[in-house]
Each structure stands twice: as C-alpha cells, then as structure tokens.
C-alpha cells in the first residue's frame, strides 16, 4: 500500500513563493477579482481609500483624518487583498508544481507511428514527435521505448515499468484485450512489442484536465462552494447595510465619521478571512488528491467523495492481501501427516497459481521440500476436470481440487468420500477458508485449507469509516458463506457475494434510491457502467479506457485502498471550509467591540464603557482591527493548504470539537490579537 510519493514541496517553497508573489499582484485585476464578491468589495474600499489619500495629500484638508492615518488604512487594505491573492496563488502554484512533475514524464518523445492509408494500417513506421499524435493514431513500442502517449494496446503483450507515474518499481504486464490494456504516456516498455491506439486528443488527457482545474482557468465552483458563496455574499450585504445606514445615524448623533472609519468597519465585518482563503482551500483539496496520485476530473468529484455514504470495495487487494494462502494441512484419519503434506506439495509442484505456490511454501516451512523430477507428468487445471495434479513415475495419480470435483472423481472410482473429510470441508468453509481436497489414486488423503489474509489495519480503517457514517460493502466472487466470514472478520458492514458486474450496478442503484451517495473503484470494461453510475467512480490507471472515461477520478497507483484516502481528502476539504467560515464570522464580535466605540467615542464619551479592550485611541483601535483582519489571512494559509485535522469521532462530537476550537477560538483570538496590536501601535504613536 505504501507507495513513494512524488517529490513533495514544502509549504512555502521559495520558487513557488516567488511565482505566487507575482501572481498576487496580477490578481488585483478587478476582472479577476469580481469572481470573489467578498474580496471584490474590499478592492472597491481600497480604491476609495486611495482617492481619500490623494485628496488629503493634495488639498491638505484634514477633515478625513491625517494623511499618515489614511495612508496606513489604504496600505493595510491593499495588503489584505494581496494576502488573499497570495493564498490563492500559492495554492495554485503548489498544485501546478505537482502536476508539472507528472507532466514532465511526458516530454516530447519520438513515436513510431504506423502510417495509415484509407483507414487501413500500412506496416510502415514513421518516426514523429509525440506531440503530433492524433486521436486513433496507432504506434508501435518495443523494449526500451518510452510510450509517447496514453493509449490502448491493440496487439501484443508487454512488461511495462510504470514507476515514473506510480512510483512502484515492479514492472507490470499489459496486454491487448481484457482489463489491463491501458498504457500511460511516459512509462517504459521493458520487453516485447505492442501496437497502441491513441485514445486522447493531445492536450486533453486526464492530467491536462486536472492541471487546468488547478490553474483556475477551468475551475468551476462546486455546488457546495456556490452555496457558501451565497451565504458569504449575504453576510457582506448585511454589513453593507449596516455601514451605509450608519451614515444617517451618525448625522443624527452629530458625529462626523471619516471615510476611513466606515471602510475599516466594513472590511472588518465582512468575512474576508474565509473570502480570501476560499479558493485556496478548494485548490489545496485537489492538490492533496494529486499528491495521493489521484487525478480528479472535477473539484466536485473530490467534494462528493467527502460526502459518500456507501463504499464498494473489492475484496481482493483492498480488504485481503491479493490471493488466498495455504494455512493448514489436514490429513485424513489413518494417513500420516508428513505423507499427506508430501502428497499435497507434489500436487502443487507445477501449479503456478499463487494458491499453488503458497502450498509449496507452507510445506517448505514445515520442512517438506519436494522437487520436480523428470518422470513426473503434470496435469494442468482444466475447466472440465476442475482439478490439477501429477502422475508420478510409480503410477500414483495425485489430484487436488474443489470438494465436488474430487468427490465425483473418487465416487466414480467406487471409493467412499469419508464423513470426516466432509465435516472438515464444511468447517473450513464456515471459517471463511477455501478447502482443497487431495486424493491419491482416487482415495482421499486429506484437505488443504486456504485462507484469505486480511490486510493489517483494515479493521481500524473500517471502524473510522463507520464513525464517519460511511457504510462499507465488500464485493467478492466468493460464495456467501466465505464472504460472510471475511466480511465479519474485516469489519465491513455488508457484502456482495458471488458478485457479477451487474450485481455491483444493482447494489449502487439500490443505495442511490435510498438517497445515498456511492463510491466504487474499478478497472475493467465490465466495471464501466457501475463506475459511471456511482457518484464517485475511481478508475485504476491500469484499467481499460472505457473504465477511465466512466469514472470521475483516476488512481495512478492502481491501489484499491485509495478509495478510503479519497473519502478522507474530500471530508477534510469540506471541514476546512466550514471551520474557517465559522472562525471568520466569529471574529466579528471582537471587531465590533474595537471599532464601534471608536467611531462614536468623540461625540459620546460615555461609550468608553463599550471599549472593553481598553484600546488606546480611536485611530489605533481602527488600525489594530484592520491589521488583525489582514494578517490573520497569511497566518491561516498553512491551515488552508494542509487542511484542518480530521478526526473520525462522529458528527456531533466533531461539531462540538470544531465549534469549540474555531467558534470559541474565533471569538477569543481577535480580542487578544487586536489588543496586542494596539499595544504595539501605542509604542509608535
């Protein structure tokens, strides 16, 4: 499961910071700014302050406050904008750097293009640059070639080194037809020769799509982001109303209020903290997905993942370690245990399946080592006999296979299928194991038990998921009895036994009809409809093109447990957004207490009673509030990029925890922060 990750960037890599700093200024462009209503209003305020500064500087009129004070307010507002832009820019830069490191794998490489004539493939090879490859072109790759473009193998089989993409050094086999026919640009063919059809237009690979998502050009707001923006916009409107109506109120109270004070109050009250960090949080979520080697086709997919109710997991590779392993030899009564193990090992000598190998391995551990001999005649597994084995030179016929196949064989020969074996077979099956019955010369010698090995730590993960309210469903081809046992042992909530592709599909539909969101992972063409039906479909990169098209994420590592990681990334994204919103809004309490007394204290001195922070002067109170408002943005950038720690402790407990940290914290922190800044300012003026 542990794969090495792409080169990861420290939060503030100097190169990225440079780019981000430049971008912070570029993003001041009102046309870009208007997409973020909260910060756009700050920009307007900032512009107005610029006019006030110019007016004060050139006319010498001090009715709006001293030049220095107005200049200070202007600069702080400008910084607020730049900080917010920087947050977005650094998130983009990190995402882009991540994507670039993936994209590097697909530098221009020579492609051996098969020329086509009237739709017929000529067997002529033309060397072209990979960038000239078009959809449906075919090219040849031989041992040592780097695959120039994503595609599907049309002919041949090859071993491929995919470490450039997945970080996994063991080569994989890809072949035409079947579920493992996909190759990725930038990977290397180690042996053999394949003909590959190009499956994507240049510039439209999943990676390209992801990069454009991160860069913001195509970043569409997710439904959840839209709803939040509406809420934030409405907060902003409320505070516009508060600030605009304050003018006639102040006139009535015969209190002159400076423009700087109005704008400061407004900027402090509107949720600039979350407004400034919102897009950074979204981009950082995509970036975290990319860091986990998952390419999301949209931001929505990542978010939906956080919302998933039901997770369909393939047993093999996700819940259990690959394949079944032999765990026990049970000799029949009257058969010597050593002898039986020998027979069992002999039967598996030529068996190349992982199960067969594990039998040899287990026998070896017990001290029984058998070797191939020239006179041995190995009988392979066929669908007809459903058993395999060996004929020894002395004529002994050893066969192993499933209970029913061996039973019929033995009974046909007129021998008994002993009751004790029958019981053993049953008890193994009940314990989730797979029994293999071994016979020599048509008499039963004993039973080999194969067991699924559940990956370590899976129980804990499922428990975490359960606490998040995510139901886990194991999908397996096993019979219901075995499936049930493994499901219980691994701690999944439900299982689909003897699963056919359409079973998955039906299960997904069923859950969706109950109003649930379903996530699944798949690779085969068979899986494509289910991947498309699922709310979150993660296709393995090794899977077929159809599967990759159908899903809304692609996992470059082909790691079936990735689904769980994706869910956690999605949740973290939503939580980060929610907690920072709460923090931002809760900050208003302290800001009110800083600014409102400052506005009126000159004309109503008794309002000193409201100045509970005991700030030095009205000017320093206002400056402290907007300085706090500005610097809280960069202070929170690391949190926005890393995401808020996610604890699977159940919704109500999580709400309590986050409300305490970010709600209460959001109320208390600015009181302390503003007071400290006020003390600092007091040193200078």
């Amino acid at each position: 499961m542990s794969k090495h990750r792409k080169k990861s960037y420290s939060l503030f890599d100097p190169a990225l910071v440079n780019t981000a700093l430049r971008q912070s200024f570029v993003k001041l462009n009102p046309q870009l700014m208007v997409k973020n209503p909260v910060m756009f209003t700050v920009e307007i305020g900032c512009f107005v302050m610029l006019l006030v500064v110019l007016y004060t500087a050139f006319t010498g009129d001090r009715s709006q406050g001293s030049l220095g004070y107005n200049l200070a307010v202007f600069i702080i507002l400008l910084l607020t904008l730049l900080f917010a832009n920087f947050a977005e820019a650094i998130a983009e830069a990190r995402g882009k750097a991540q994507a670039d490191s993936l994209r590097k794998t697909r530098q221009d490489t020579p492609a051996k293009l098969l020329t086509m004539l009237d739709g017929r493939i000529e067997n002529q090879i033309e060397l072209v640059s990979s960038s000239r490859l078009q959809l449906n072109d075919r090219f040849v790759c031989e041992a040592g070639d780097t695959i120039p473009m994503d595609g599907e193998i049309m002919e041949g089989i090859a071993t491929i080194d995919e470490s450039a993409i997945t970080g996994e050094s063991a080569p994989v086999i890809r072949e035409a037809g079947g579920d493992k026919s996909s190759v990725t640009g930038g990977t290397k063919v180690l042996s053999d020769r394949i003909i590959v059809r190009v499956t994507t237009q240049p510039g439209e690979t999943f990676l390209d799509k992801m990069i454009s998502l991160v860069e913001g050009a195509n970043r569409q707001k997710t439904p959840n982001e839209i709803a939040l923006t509406i809420l934030l916009a409405s907060f902003t409107i409320v505070f516009i109303i508060v600030c605009v109506t304050l003018k006639p109120f102040a006139d009535y109270a015969q209190t002159p209020v400076t423009i700087a004070a109005f704008i400061s109050l407004f900027v402090c009250l509107i949720p600039t903290t979350i407004g400034g960090l919102l897009s950074a949080i979204g981009i950082a979520g995509m970036d975290r997905a990319l860091r986990a080697n998952v390419i999301a086709k949209s931001g929505k997919a990542v978010e939906t993942a956080g919302d998933v109710d039901t997770l369909l997991l393939d047993k093999t590779g996700t819940i259990t370690i690959g394949n079944r392993k032999a765990t026990n030899f049970y000799a029949m009564d009257g058969v010597d245990e050593k002898t039986f193990i020998k027979i069992a090992a002999l039967s598996s000598l030529a068996d190349d399946t992982p199960e067969g190998k594990s039998i040899i391995e287990l026998a070896g551990q017990i001290g029984v080592n058998m070797r191939r001999e020239a006179e041995m005649e190995f009988i392979g597994f066929t669908a007809e006999t459903r058993s395999s084995g060996v004929n020894l030179s002395d004529g002994t016929q050893i066969r192993k296979g499933a209970e029913d196949s061996i039973r019929s064989k033995v009974e046909r020969a007129g021998n008994q299928f002993p009751k004790s074996v029958q019981n053993r077979v049953k008890s193994i099956a009940e314990n989730g194991g797979t029994p293999l019955v071994v016979a020599a010369n048509n008499t039963i010698k004993g039973v080999i038990e194969l067991q699924d090995i559940i990956k370590p730590g899976m129980q804990d993960r499922f428990e975490r998921l359960r606490k998040m309210g995510v139901k886990t469903v194991m999908v397996t081809g096993d019979n219901p009895l075995t499936a049930k046992y493994i499901a219980n042992k691994a701690g999944v909530d439900d299982f689909i036994a003897e699963a056919k592709p359409e079973d998955k599909m039906n299960y997904i539909r069923q859950e969706q009809n109950k109003g649930k969101l379903v996530a699944m992972m798949g690779d085969g063409t068979n899986d494509a409809p289910a991947l498309a039906q699922a709310d979150v479909g993660v296709a393995m990169n090794s899977g077929t093109q159809a599967a990759k098209e159908a899903g809304n994420m692609v996992d470059l590592d082909n790691d079936p447990t990735k689904l769980i990681e994706v869910v956690e990334i999605g949740k973290q994204l939503l939580i980060t957004r929610g907690t920072l919103t709460t923090f931002s809004i809760a900050n208003d309490v302290a800001k009110y207490f800083a600014i409102v007394p400052a506005l009126f204290i000159a004309s109503i001195p008794s309002l000193q009673g409201l100045n509970i922070m005991n700030l030095k002067s009205p000017e320093s109170a206002i400056l402290s509030a907007i300085i706090f408002n500005a610097i809280i943005i960069p202070i929170l950038i690391p949190l926005a990029l890393r995401g808020v720690a996610y604890k699977p402790i159940g919704a109500s407990a999580l709400l309590r925890r986050n409300l305490l940290i970010y709600g209460m914290g959001g109320i208390i922190v600015p009181f302390i922060g503003i007071k400290l800044i006020d003390l600092l300012i007091g040193l200078f003026i």
Binding site: A227, T245, G578, Y646, S652, L655
Partner: protein, 570 residues
C-alpha cells in the same frame, strides 16, 4: 420583591402547563386522530360547503402561498374600505370620524399582518363596527394565516418526497375553529368577569371628586382583548393597551393575558415535535428559544427591579424598583416579564410604557424584536427560527465534512439563497427605515407634513433615536408595540412603516415555506452515524450562535447610538 418574582415563575410555569398538552393535541389533530376538537367538525364541514372548499384537495407549496396571498389581499381591501368610511356607518355611538387614507392604509396593513402598530387611539380612532368587524376579525384571520402556514412547513418536513402538502383552507379554518375561537371564548369570559367591558353602549361619564365630568370609553372589548393576546396580535381596544384599567383590570387578568399570548407559539413548537415524532428536536428548539428569552429577560428584570440610577444619584430610595411608566397593580417584575414576552413573540401589547423602561431593558426589547425568533408570533415564530436553523445546518454541516442536510434532506444552493435573502431582509428593513427617518429628521426638519419631522421626537439624543429605531423594528418584526413618544400618525410614518409591514410579513412566510416545499420534494436520506443530528444540544448552541451573530450583531452600531449610549450615560 420575592412575591413578584414568584409571580413571574408561576406565570411561565402555567404557560407551559397549558402549552405542552395543547401542542400534543394539535399534533394529533393534524395526524387525523380523534381529539377533543372533533365536535367542531360539523361546523367546519358547513364552512367548507358554503365556501366551496374541497377539503380533500392537496396543494403544493406554491398553491398554498397563492391561496394565502389572495385571501390576504381581499381582507386588506375590505378593511381599508371600512376604515375610511367608518364615520358614517353603523355602531358608532361616540360619533368617531373616518380614518384618513394614509392612516387607514397603515391600520389595515398593520392588522392584516398581525402587527397592530396602532397610529391611533382606539377610543377615538375607531368605531365599534370597525373594532369588531375589522380589528378583531383581522386579529383572528391573521393569526390563523400564520398557523396555517406553519402547518404547511410541518407537513413538508414530515412527509417524504412529495409535493402534496395538505389543504390551505382546511389548515386555516381549523386554526380558527379549533384553537383561536374556543380558547378566546374562555379568555374573554374570564376578562369579562373581572371587569373588562362587553357592552355596545357609548361612552359613560362620571363626576370626579374635583367636580369634573370624566368621559369613560367602553365597548365590546373583552372578546377582542382575548384574541389580541391569543393570536399574538397586540392591538388594544384602548389607546394605552393593557395598561388601561378596563383592558387589564387586575393582576389575575394580567396573568391570563400573559399566558394567553405565549401558549400558541410554545404549543406549536411542541406540536412540531409530536407531529414529526421528533420530540427531542422540539425540546432542543424550545431550549434554544428559552435560552434566548432568558438572556433578554434577566438583564431587563434586573435593571427594572434595581431602579433608575439617575434617581438613585439624587439620593432617593427606590424600594419598588423603577416605577416610571408602570402600573402600581403590576409592579416592575411582571411588567418587565410582560415587555420581554410581548417583544420576543410578536404580540406587542403593553402593560407598561416601553418608553420609560431602563435603557438596558430598552435594548433587550429591541433585541427581542430584532431576533424575532424566540417563540415568535403565531406560526411565524417557527418560520423565522427555521431560517436561522437552515443557516446553522449549513455551517455545521460544513464543519463536520458533509454536505449539510436537515431531517434527511440536503440543503443546497437554492435553499441557501432563499434563507440568505430572508435573513438579510429583517436588518435591511429596520436599518434602512431608521436611516431614512434619521436623514429626513436631520436634513428636512421643517418639512410640511402633519407633524413636522423636527417635532417627531419627544426626546432628543439617544432616546429619540431609540424611538425611531423601535418603531421600524416593531414594524419589521410585525410586533406592534410602540416605544411611544414618537409622533407617528402622519404621512411619513404611516406609509413607510406600512411598506415595511407588508414586506416583513409575507416574504418571511413565503421564504421558509418555499424552502420546506423544495426540501419535501428531495430525496430522503436515512440518517447514519455521519449525519449531524439536529436534535442535539450542540446543534442547538450552533443555532443560538447564528441568531446572535447574524441577527443581533448587525444591530450593534444602531443599538450603540440608542439604548447603549443612554445606558452608559446615566
């Protein structure tokens, strides 16, 4: 003093004792179960028949709102016409004149929307005909309008994946026949036996000890005073409302009127839980509302019982607390309890003059109307609360990493848009209104209106500001109480508050119903461990925080210039 506080506690206790079983009964009747009200069924069937209503017809939320708005428009025209012509109609023994069009506009709207902002005095501004057939009539139907609307919400939140939300006319009719009419009868009887007049005769007179002839207005008042409280209307028969010795003769009637105004709003909160079979949710909502109620009540009560610091500075002992503007027969404890109750629920009847309350109490009264969701008016209290609840659901959903959902339905952009608009509306109307009047007052003090803007205010400075702020807050909260001391019977105030009234009544009904209607049609998602339970106290705290930050904080600058400035000055 202790006896006074005991009186407050008993009053609240009795209110719950009546409201909770009433809530249960309402839920049972909505469920179609047999209740004690079933004897009203023949009368209801008769009404349906006469009005051509098919009680089995199910309406969508849009049809409900269409019905609601249409019938309200008809009532408005009816009331307006009667008010401008009342002087020449029947039942006018005292020969009171017809209302001016702007006053009639304000009065008709104000009673239609359950606000009862009275820019006139009942003794001289209305006739018995309009008192009974306009005022008392509207007090019944406006309360029933709110209750019927909240029933639509109940149904929408209970039934899954449907747009069949019951029949508006049935909800409306039953609200009157089963809640308002029978309970009003009981209250009216109690009041009548304690001295509230019920006669159709004109003014009486007596010779005072000084030898002056004093005219005493009367009329068939007991019935109207009953529905004025039960229906959270608040518009009194007499000008000084329930401070008047005939409108509220003694401590007992005071208690009856206090209980009468809270039972329907509280009963509806419990009915919600019983009907949806989510009693814990009801309890949490009730707890949040009560927490809000107490955090307004305690400062008010403490400052009223403590007396006026300005008088204290003169060295005068105030053993009875602050008695300015209060009735001897009630005292400061129950009077401050009344004033908070009447402002958090949208009654707006008064038994003491709010203008004379201590500044801190004044701030609490304003806050009660600014939040407008602690118990709240008949039906509309829950609708207002629902908006805050939706916003709280949204934010807390994000905080636990799930797309927010309430009772198994997802809250998405559309619902948020509606909730946000309604949440903005209230501060907008109040602040914009007050800003407008401040502007007019400062810049056009000599304008040629019935009352010159320069003469609007009885008090200068912060208190005067509070008078204007209070008037718009009362209008926007559909409350109807007045800070008084404001010259409000003129074109400016009649028209401007009239529009505030319409907007703040119907949009906050349509908004929540629309959200509920949209939710009802959505897929139902069964709860899981990851679902944020809306019936937890943590979530309750979240709603409370949303109310405080969204509703209360927006008014902080305004309150600073009004009651808070005054509080810190004396």
């Amino acid at each position: 003093m202790n006896k006074e506080i005991l009186g407050v506690l008993l009053t609240f206790g009795f209110s719950l004792l009546i409201a909770i079983p009433l809530g249960k009964t309402i839920a049972r009747w909505l469920n179609g179960e047999k209740t004690i009200w079933n004897f009203m069924a023949p009368l209801e069937r008769f009404i349906y028949k006469v009005c051509g209503i098919n009680p089995a017809e199910e309406m969508t939320w849009q049809q409900h709102m269409k019905a609601l708005l249409t019938i309200n428009l008809i009532w408005f025209v009816y009331a307006f016409v009667l008010l401008i012509s009342q002087g020449s109609l029947l039942l006018n023994p005292d020969g009171n004149p017809s209302q001016s069009p702007d006053l009639a506009f304000n009065t008709a709207i104000s009673f239609l929307v359950n606000c009862n902002l009275q820019h006139y005095s009942g003794e001289s501004g209305l006739t018995y005909l309009t008192q009974v057939f306009v005022i008392a009539f509207l007090q019944f139907v406006s309360a029933a309008t709110g209750i019927a609307a909240v029933f639509v919400l109940f149904k929408a939140l209970r039934d899954k994946v449907t747009d069949h939300l019951g029949n508006y006319w049935v909800f409306f009719t039953q609200s009157i026949t089963r809640i308002l009419l029978p309970i009003s009868l009981v209250i009216a009887t109690l009041l009548a036996f304690n001295g509230t007049p019920t006669s159709f005769e004109g003014k009486d007179s007596y010779l005072s000890l000084q030898g002056d002839t004093v005219q005493v207005a009367r009329g068939p008042a007991a019935g109207m005073i009953a529905i004025k409280h039960l229906g959270t209307n608040g518009g009194g028969w007499f000008g000084v409302n329930s401070a008047h010795p005939l409108e509220n003769p003694n401590y007992f009637t005071n208690t009856v009127e206090l209980i009468a105004q809270v039972i329907v709003p509280i009963a509806l909160v419990f009915a919600f839980g019983f009907y949806l079979k989510r009693r814990k949710l009801s309890t949490v909502i009730f707890a949040v509302m009560t927490l809000g109620f107490l955090s307004l009540l305690l400062p008010a009560m403490v400052s009223e019982l403590g007396g006026n610091p300005a008088i204290e500075k003169l060295g005068i002992a105030q053993t009875t607390g602050a008695m300015e503007g209060k009735e001897q027969r009630f005292g400061p404890a129950i009077s401050s309890y009344w004033s908070i109750v009447t402002t958090i629920i949208s009654t707006g009847s008064v038994n003491s003059m709010h203008d004379s309350s201590m500044p801190l109490s004044g701030a609490m009264l304003l806050l009660g109307m600014m939040t407008n969701a602690f118990y709240g008016g008949c039906g509309v209290g829950i609708l207002n609360f629902f908006i805050y609840l939706i916003i709280a659901v949204f934010i807390s959903g994000l905080m636990v990493g799930r797309t927010p959902e309430f009772l198994g339905r997802k809250i998405e952009a559309r619902e948020m848009k509606i909730a946000s608009m309604i949440a903005i509306l209230h501060p907008l109307l109040i602040l914009a209104g007050t800003a407008l009047s401040s502007w007019v007052l400062v810049h056009h003090p000599e304008a040629d209106w019935a009352v010159k803007p320069g003469n609007w205010l009885n008090n200068p400075g912060a208190h005067g500001f509070s008078e204007m702020l209070y008037e718009y807050t009362s209008a926007a909260a559909n409350n109807g109480s007045g800070f008084e001391g404001l010259g409000d019977n003129n074109l400016f105030w009649n028209i401007s508050t009239g529009f505030v009234l319409i907007l703040s009544r119907f949009l906050p009904i349509i908004g929540p119903i629309a959200i509920a209607g949209l939710l009802a049609k959505k897929k139902y998602i069964p709860e899981s461990a990851g679902t944020l339970r809306s019936d937890s106290y943590t979530f309750g705290l979240m709603i409370f925080a949303v109310i405080v930050i969204l509703a209360a904080l927006a008014f902080f600058p305004a309150l600073t210039l009004g009651p808070l400035a005054e509080y810190f000055s004396i």
